[in-house]
Symmetry: C2
Subunit: 354 residues, 2 copies
């Protein structure tokens, strides 16, 4: 508890663990706020992106990552969705009394590595300690700021019927990794979390396809939440081709076995991009050229919605009558050509996935 009191033990914790892992001249000033000189913001039309996320994932360590890597990648990716180049992060730790310093050191080392990979700097932070039984080892908040270049104006509201839906890689890896870690499951081909910082990937797509409408990272709630939100924001429908969605065999197998809906599973290193059709191939090439997008694919199309938000596109096969009471904002075309609704998750599927 003394490590959270603002006194000498807290100072030594900060010095020995946090600044030794990811110290830099901005963090080390010792002032209460970081002072950031972002000269690119002087350019007319440049804007600031600002985002926040708290991480409560359990277990803290899993194949392909840990809570520290998530805390960096998640917030970097939220910034990246706005078209921003992520620049600076803050970190707020809530530690439970008794949490092992060795685990904390592993996590801060992972944070340092992920920050370097993402090209961002940790510039300000905070540590609180709560009593045993009032936390779960460690919770981390990370907030971040990034730079949006003049002319970049992305929003989920900009999707138009006819636009192409791209996905940067395989779906469900993070979700199934966490399930396996919790349940002690093993697969023949091991599944790892996809946690990755996608700032560079987004910049590459924007350079290749400057008319990109928006990006989204399908984390909690999965692709289903992402596409339904985009449809709602832009008053369109999202139509996904089931066969076109990249999935690892082990993930598909785990979904079948355990009854998870692939489209509800969380991802931590994937990006959805909505791009006008004439730039879709360029965007796809840019994705595939990036180290985090090698398995990218075009997975569907934005279509028109009627006033009730229902699918409205005459050329679509209507082999299956859709329930007129439901608001069908996202749909999947199965291998058989039938349509089914890509429901938003209701209730809880996998709590504390990130």
């Amino acid at each position: 508890m003394a490590h959270g009191s603002g006194g000498t033990q807290m100072s030594s914790l900060i010095r020995d663990v946090f600044t030794s892992a990811y110290g830099n001249e901005l963090l080390l000033t010792g002032d209460d706020a970081a002072v950031l000189e972002i000269t690119a913001l002087q350019e007319p039309g440049a804007r600031l992106a600002f985002s926040t996320d708290s991480y409560v994932v359990t277990p803290h360590f899993f194949a392909g990552g840990d809570i520290g890597r998530l805390a960096v990648c998640g917030t970097v990716n939220d910034l990246a969705t706005s078209g921003a180049q992520p620049l600076y992060l803050s970190l707020g730790f809530i530690l439970e009394e008794g949490f092992e310093l060795d685990s904390l050191r592993r996590i801060t080392a992972s944070i340092a590595a992920a920050a370097q990979e993402a090209g961002v700097r940790i510039v300000t932070g905070d540590t609180k300690v709560v009593e045993r039984g009032k936390g779960d080892g460690i919770y981390i908040n990370s907030s971040g700021v990034g730079l949006i270049a003049p002319g970049v104006a992305l929003s989920g509201r900009s999707c138009l019927p006819g636009d192409t839906i791209l996905l940067s890689g395989t779906l469900g890896d993070h979700g199934i990794t966490i399930v396996s870690a919790r349940e002690g499951l093993r697969f023949e081909a091991p599944v790892e979390s996809d946690a990755a910082p996608l700032g560079e990937l987004v910049q590459a797509v924007l350079a290749a396809a400057p008319r990109t409408r928006c990006f989204r990272d399908p984390t909690r709630g999965g692709l289903a939440s992402t596409l339904n939100e985009l449809a709602q924001q832009s008053h369109t429908c999202m139509l996904v081709d089931e066969d076109a969605v990249p999935v690892q065999d082990a993930v598909r197998g785990a979904c079948d076995l355990l009854g998870y809906d692939l489209y509800h599973l969380a991802n931590e290193g994937k990006m959805v991009a909505i791009v006008p059709p004439e730039q879709a191939e360029d965007a796809l090439a840019a994705l595939r050229h990036n180290r985090y997008g090698e398995e990218a694919a075009i997975i569907g199309t934005v279509t028109a919605a009627d006033e009730q938000g229902l699918l409205h596109s005459p050329e679509l096969p209507r082999t299956q009558e859709l329930p007129r009471t439901a608001v069908a904002r996202a749909l999947v075309r199965t291998a058989l050509g039938t349509l089914r609704i890509m429901d938003v998750l209701t209730g809880e599927q996998l709590p504390r996935i990130c």
Copy 2:
């Protein structure tokens, strides 16, 4: 738990509780990052301040405030210490399963009121839910960005021997309020938390005393931590006149009764300012003219330190020999003219004070 899953229940929680309390057009875009156009940053020399704090205070509600008001004021004040005008906040909630929606509504209403009082907007947020027994009702992280005007360059490293130490009001009110709430104590004159947003107060001092060296808000660890940190950053000593420190009688009485050191008590609406002597009176007048600084006072002087960081000022009364082994960075001159060391808090005094 479903409220944290990223699905429909989470959407309705966000809509019904958060955006209904403090929604604005930036928060309501529904995108993952807020896009901020801060045209004043186009001016050469303007800089961005960025800060973060997590709030784990218990109880959640207390005289003069609650965890929501703290979450706004604390981060606003951290930004203000850099000389910044606080502009935008993010909020990250970690809710424990079963936390009452009514309490959450009271807290978000308090956040909205405090944000209005502070002149800041909540522009981005995140909500996580953890299982019963893995939290304590509610934890809040707030991060913030603010604008530092060209020419403002404050740092704890700038304090010089001869500078004046100012305090914006009475010490210890927040700390004693929390103790009383926990222990069920009552005082004749009720004590309330001083939680207040001090962005305007800082701007007023800067306008009146532009050569101000730095500001600090003495929160966790109290005035003792603040002055010892400043002394360490600037290689000086801090000498405080005990008689000059504003304290409410009830707070002084509670300290005597309960054995708390006034200088270790947390404050949530007070500012320390270090100002060159020729601008000290102007700074004091500006503080007293502000609604949050009416009881401001000059409480001491920055003095020279020798190489060991010990007090080194020939004109000081040396009626008490200081222990040469200790590093005496902050000292108190008592009413009797003797000196005693203002120790940094070691161990824990009042856990989860903010």
